[in-house]
Symmetry: none
Subunit: 221 residues, 2 copies
DNA sequence: CCCAAACTGACAGAACGCTGACAAGCCCTA
DNA sequence: TAGGGCTTGTCAGCGTTCTGTCAGTTTGGG
């Protein structure tokens, strides 16, 4: 049971890590938003403890990106004392719970455990678009019921598009979200990727909006 | 600013209504889940206060149905004291905020106000003029409800005109805003562009002010 | 009636996106 | 460590679509 701790104050992070470890969990610490985003998006954690005041990328932004990418790991955010707006914003951005600072360690532990327990029971519904079904739990994609093997990158692309159904997603947005950063200019990597994905999903669910980007239409049967 | 209160205990409902009214909001009370679902789905409210323990249909179910129907009014749920699972369930079901009972009335007021403010911030983004509707979120334009495919430049032109409704926009202003740099003198690119756009939007929303420029009249009715 | 401004259709060069081929990088196995 | 398979970025060629320009026509104000 790995738990990601995104907290820039080393002492606080250390305390949380110690408490979690004492509870049988495996803590990992990052101290800035960029690392948090990357680690959270690429590794698998049972839960994430996210401080909102992070260097480089702010916590809310990190959370929003995760949710947009389809990450559904339970996230508990640590908010400044009495900052009500932060809490609402956090919940809007997809936080599962929040804890105002300062807090007692036992309380954090209780909530983290509760989240993990819940997440274990929670069945994330598969996302579908036409004949394509994506199951985030097993990372499996099937077309007309037939399991289809996708490469990791293809899967991330499809996942992102499905989580943003009904919206035109530009190539820049895609490359920003699929690759950690330093988007290469003048590269047709995304085009090639889309082409490969289309060939594997025989279904024609990804439309091109020339000059705008790609779109998966909202559920049509 | 109407607010729906779904709460079966008459005294509590009355208290909330009084507090909201004192805050300049217009409260409406329903005392069971069925009415809540119906009223919430058919009337327009700025926010909804939803007790989870309702007769006939349980609050979580009502909330889930609303969200499924696409209702995106902010909802704040009232949960039983210390019932952690209810809160998580509520958020999963689409609640924007929760408040454990018992609560101080000021706190409820603060949260309702925060939600309304937030909702106002994410104002409905589609801009309309006559039968033409432009949705920046999806980069889609529809005329009389029929999606209409525009090229990137046509889209930018329409977008600019709609953002400047009721004002005459000169050709130079347009070419300065549509093209990144040095507008060509002696070119009728803009005229050609306007012509193409007009043909696609069968509607006659772009008027010519000979010698001055173009204008899209302010929405009336 | 005159003339400039605006419109329209045709056209060609530019921009865009798709595809197949290839190669570099990576992981696994022998 | 070498080799094979898989993944993914790059490149070049191709067809499609977009868009500026031109030429000819229409419109509208004075």
């Amino acid at each position: 049971m790995r738990v990601l701790i995104a907290e820039d104050e080393a002492r606080v992070a250390g305390d949380i890590a110690a408490a979690l470890a004492a509870g049988g969990l495996v803590p990992e610490i990052v101290d800035n938003g960029e690392d948090a985003w990357f680690r959270g998006g690429t590794e698998t954690y049972s839960a994430i403890v996210l401080d909102l005041g992070l260097p480089k990328i702010d916590g809310i932004t990190v959370l929003k990106r995760w949710r947009q990418e389809g990450l559904n790991t339970p996230v508990i955010i640590l908010t400044a004392r009495g900052s009500w707006s932060e809490r609402v914003e956090g919940i809007d951005a997809g936080a599962d719970d929040y804890l105002p600072k300062p807090f007692r360690m036992e309380e954090l532990m209780a909530r983290v455990r509760a989240l993990i327990r819940r997440a274990a029971g929670r069945a994330e519904p598969t996302i579908t678009a036409g004949p394509v079904a994506l199951d985030p739990r097993t990372s499996q994609v099937s077309v007309r019921g037939i399991p289809t093997g996708l490469t990791p990158l293809e899967f991330r692309l499809l996942n992102y598009l499905l989580h943003n159904r009904g919206r035109v997603v530009s190539q820049t947005e895609l490359s920003e979200n699929l690759y950690s950063h330093d988007s290469e200019r003048d590269s047709n990597a995304v085009e090639a990727l889309v082409g490969r994905l289309r060939r594997k999903l025989k279904a024609d669910i990804i439309e091109t909006r020339r000059g705008f980007g790609y779109i998966v239409e909202e559920n049509r049967g």
